[in-house]
């Protein structure tokens, strides 16, 4: 076990190092793949909800949902190291695109023109967030939840 002060310093150094990096398209692609994995957990959840609570069908699909979330969890921990949480999390909005596709494919729910326009707007918003320049970020220590005060 490292003592907590050293740990805090490495934490800060890591952050500064990361702040110099820009968001790369490779990381964004990796992030989007994780979002796709995540949306499949929603599909399993919807399948589960179609069965009576704690019936065998429910347990099966709930189990699948948890398994998918397990894979997602492992991947998510790896990707949030490389992003601001607020940026990585906003990327999950693209789940609306994938959910719309799965809604049509698996549940035969209707997709309207408006749905498609909405998805395109979300895409624009996600791009705006992803094109953030990170360099200037950590020069000011904003946020008072930070425990780096000495």
């Amino acid at each position: 076990m490292k003592d907590s002060r050293t740990e805090l310093q490495t934490e800060k150094a890591e952050k500064l190092k990361k702040a110099e990096k820009r968001i790369t398209w490779k990381n964004v692609l990796f992030l989007q793949l994780i979002v796709i994995v995540f949306t499949f957990s929603g599909v399993a959840a919807k399948f589960a909800s179609g069965h009576p609570f704690f019936s065998s069908g429910f347990i099966l699909f709930f189990g699948i949902q948890i398994a998918i979330l397990g894979v997602y969890a492992i991947l998510w921990q790896q990707i949030i190291k490389r992003f601001d949480l607020s940026v990585a999390y906003a990327n999950r909005a693209m789940a609306i695109l994938w959910s719309m596709l799965w809604a049509a494919v698996f549940f035969r729910e209707n997709i309207s023109v408006q749905n498609v326009i909405g998805v395109l707007i979300v895409l624009v918003g996600t791009i705006v967030i992803n094109t953030e320049r990170k360099a200037e970020h950590y020069e000011t220590d904003s946020g008072f939840g930070k425990s780096v005060k000495k």
């Binding site: 740990e7 490495t10 890591e14 952050k15 957990s41 599909v43 959840a45 919807k46 909800s49 709930f62 949902q65 948890i66 979330l69 969890a73 492992i74 998510w76 921990q77 790896q78 949030i80 190291k81 601001d84 949480l85 607020s86 940026v87 999390y89 906003a90 999950r92 909005a93 609306i96 959910s99 719309m100 799965w102 809604a103 549940f107 729910e109 408006q114 749905n115 326009i117 909405g118 998805v119 395109l120 707007i121 979300v122 895409l123 624009v124 918003g125 996600t126 791009i127 705006v128 967030i129 094109t131 953030e132 970020h137 950590y138 000011t140 904003s142 946020g143 008072f144 939840g145 930070k146």
Partner: protein, 112 residues
């Protein structure tokens, strides 16, 4: 959608937003091995909370169309943006706010 579904969904969003903060705190630390990146208090707590949120989500979904779920979940983007400022010191930049507003608009258009 019934009121009870909405309550489950709102609870689920709040719990999962907080779990993200804890997970990010866990992810930013250095560990001696790959397995320790996962077997530590923060990550286990974070995913425990996410599991709880999942149960709440399943309860909520039973009364609504599947494609509507991301709409209400989208409140989480604004919540995470604010929480990550307070607990992680991530700046709330103009771009983040603008992007989040555009995303919320898109989701609204999708929904209405």
């Amino acid at each position: 959608m019934k009121a009870v579904n909405l309550i489950f969904l709102l609870l689920s969003i709040t719990v999962s937003s907080f779990s993200q903060i804890i997970l990010k705190k866990g992810a930013d630390r250095e560990y001696t091995s790959f397995i320790r990146e996962y077997l530590n208090v923060r990550v286990i707590c974070g995913y425990g909370m996410m599991f709880l949120a999942t149960v709440l989500t399943v309860l909520a979904y039973s009364g609504m169309e599947y494609k509507n779920a991301p709409v209400i979940e989208s409140l989480g983007y604004a919540i995470v943006l604010v929480l990550s400022f307070f607990f992680l010191g991530e700046p709330i930049t103009r771009r983040k706010v603008l992007g989040t507003v555009i995303i919320l608009c898109g989701i609204l258009v999708f929904y209405i």
